[in-house]
Symmetry: C2
């Protein structure tokens, strides 16, 4: 029974994690969530309280190293929660911040991470209203782990999600992919090109707000973190019950990131982003979505990257039209390539 223990890929954001989470977690909580929000595994849960539609989400952060080109665990923790809320079209209202600290962690390190978290929260007007601090013995945790949860307010009548996606819709991405994962891996592995690549980690609520204003009928937003673009698009296609075809040549990738992925043996489409949206727009709103993103500093490199197609009885959910003209399955990554990327 050598398999009956947790392995790193169980947290990798790919196929292995989906199976693990469904079998070991969701099955147990189905009867503790009559709303079905947990089972949908969206970026955030929609919770109706007294007629008000809220978004609610949580993530823990175990990234290694704590600081990497373009960001750190503090900025990551606030951005991740803001972006998950934004995927439901929700303005961030209140954020919690819980620390698990290893005995011996330098106070100066903690201070830098918290200053970064506070500055990130302030930059999007998200109030950090509650928290918790635990300390464990040396060797019982790796420096520091953070958890944030967040409450967002969804505007009346706004609905975003996989169930709103229709054949004929277009798939967009708000900018270049794989910057975060490559920045962290380059730093961790001490690779020479680390200076050339910077994480995209950023709180995207201002970009989402611009998109929502421009597109009253926006279909869906998705945060392509662990598992990258490939995992996010596969999850959208499955939630929507459609096929999606991505055009490889249209996906924006920085040359330094592409080079680093070659050196590290990674597929850019499987690598985590922390400041990007996958956007699904109705045909009549594609131009407005593109213009709204390109007019914003966080969406300058936005591009249309694919098409939503009618479901098929057999065959893959997501395909990739390659740069050399072929078409192949774009699989959900398995999830073991990039441990502790966020």
């Amino acid at each position: 029974m050598a398999e009956d223990v947790i392995v790193l890929a169980d947290g990798g954001g790919g196929e292995r994690m989906m199976t693990f989470v469904r079998r070991e977690i969701l099955s147990r909580f189905a009867s503790a969530d009559p709303s079905g929000a947990l089972a949908r595994m969206a970026d955030a849960a929609r919770v109706e309280v007294d007629g008000t539609a809220l978004a609610f989400t949580t993530d823990s952060y175990v990234v290694r190293p704590l600081e990497f080109p373009g960001g750190d665990i503090g900025r990551l923790a606030i951005s991740g929660t803001v972006n998950d809320l934004a995927c439901l079209g929700a303005r961030p209202i209140a954020i919690s911040l819980a620390l698990i600290l290893e005995e011996g962690l330098p106070l100066a390190t903690l201070g830098r991470m918290l200053d970064s978290a506070a500055a990130t929260a302030r930059s999007v007007g998200a109030a950090v209203v509650c928290g918790d601090t635990k300390v464990v013995e040396r060797g019982s945790a790796d420096q520091m782990f953070l958890n944030t949860a967040g409450i967002g307010l969804i505007a009346k009548g706004r609905r975003l999600g996989g169930d709103r996606i229709r054949p004929g819709d277009k798939v967009l991405v708000s900018g270049t992919v794989a910057d975060h994962g490559v920045a962290v891996m380059s730093k961790r592995e001490g690779l020479a090109f680390q200076a050339a690549v910077s994480s995209d980690v950023a709180p995207l609520w201002p970009l989402a707000e611009a998109l929502l204003a421009a597109c009253p009928n926006l279909r869906a937003l998705k945060d392509p973190t662990r598992g990258g673009l490939a995992a996010a698009v596969n999850e959208l296609a499955e939630a929507a019950g459609v096929r999606i075809r991505i055009d490889e040549a249209s996906v924006p990738v920085r040359p330094a990131v592409a080079g680093a992925c070659d050196a590290l043996g990674l597929d850019v489409l499987n690598v985590a982003n922390e400041g990007k949206f996958i956007v699904v727009a109705a045909p009549e709103e594609v131009e407005a979505a593109l213009a709204a993103m390109r007019g914003h500093a966080l969406g300058r490199d936005a591009a249309v990257i694919g098409d939503v197609l009618a479901p098929a009885a057999v065959g893959p959910r997501v395909t990739l039209r390659t740069t050399i003209g072929g078409e192949r399955v774009l699989e959900m990554p398995y999830g073991e390539d990039l441990p502790r990327i966020c």
Copy 2:
């Protein structure tokens, strides 16, 4: 500069932690929380959204061992968040559950902890609506850490908190103290009396609901976890700007717990509880509060344990009238006695 690192007492729930949290955390987030909720360090933050009063709270759980007489980390994680919400008079609406798992953790262990969490949530009608799973390498965490956050709904017009406490009010406790901390320490240390002591860990919303129905003018509820009754009463006295006198002989303690505390060198008043409230009631509602609690399985041993007194210019905030008739300062514990108790 040997002091400039995190020590275990920084998470111990006592004086050291209060100082650490104020200096290293709250100072950084003051400008990221205009509401001041974080700075109040209450069990939960009050958040007004669209005219609806919500409670919001978070806690991480690092208890060792994962299973102890009377409970486990799963029951603890749900109960802790339900109880923090209840301290604002809030019914639990939605809970998040985030896992940090160590590679190699047996799936069977994880399954037992999650079954326990799910059963605890179901028992009080609290829906677990979102979650997260991270896995770290063997040696980078100790088996499993959990985080829960929760959203609660505060009934219209209900206000509980230190600022409502007045001289002349009475202090009550909902039952015996120190059961949780002693159960965990007995198991951890392999002490012979472990079978005799059981943790009180329980989700207290049903007890809070009974209390709120009986006492329209209830002043405050407080969850006496890390730092025990002594820390909770000191925090209440400070928030209220009053003095409190506790009568030692009135504090209910199980004989086995008292004996274990003697053996372990612990003060029962400093030891964590996970299924108790400290209650402050107006004089005219004391009998109703006591009757409401004693009429409930979770409050059978409720007792009046002290008095709220007018503030004094000098002298201690909290005193203890001892069983031998003297009176001494009841200090905020320092916080290093009981690491990883929750």
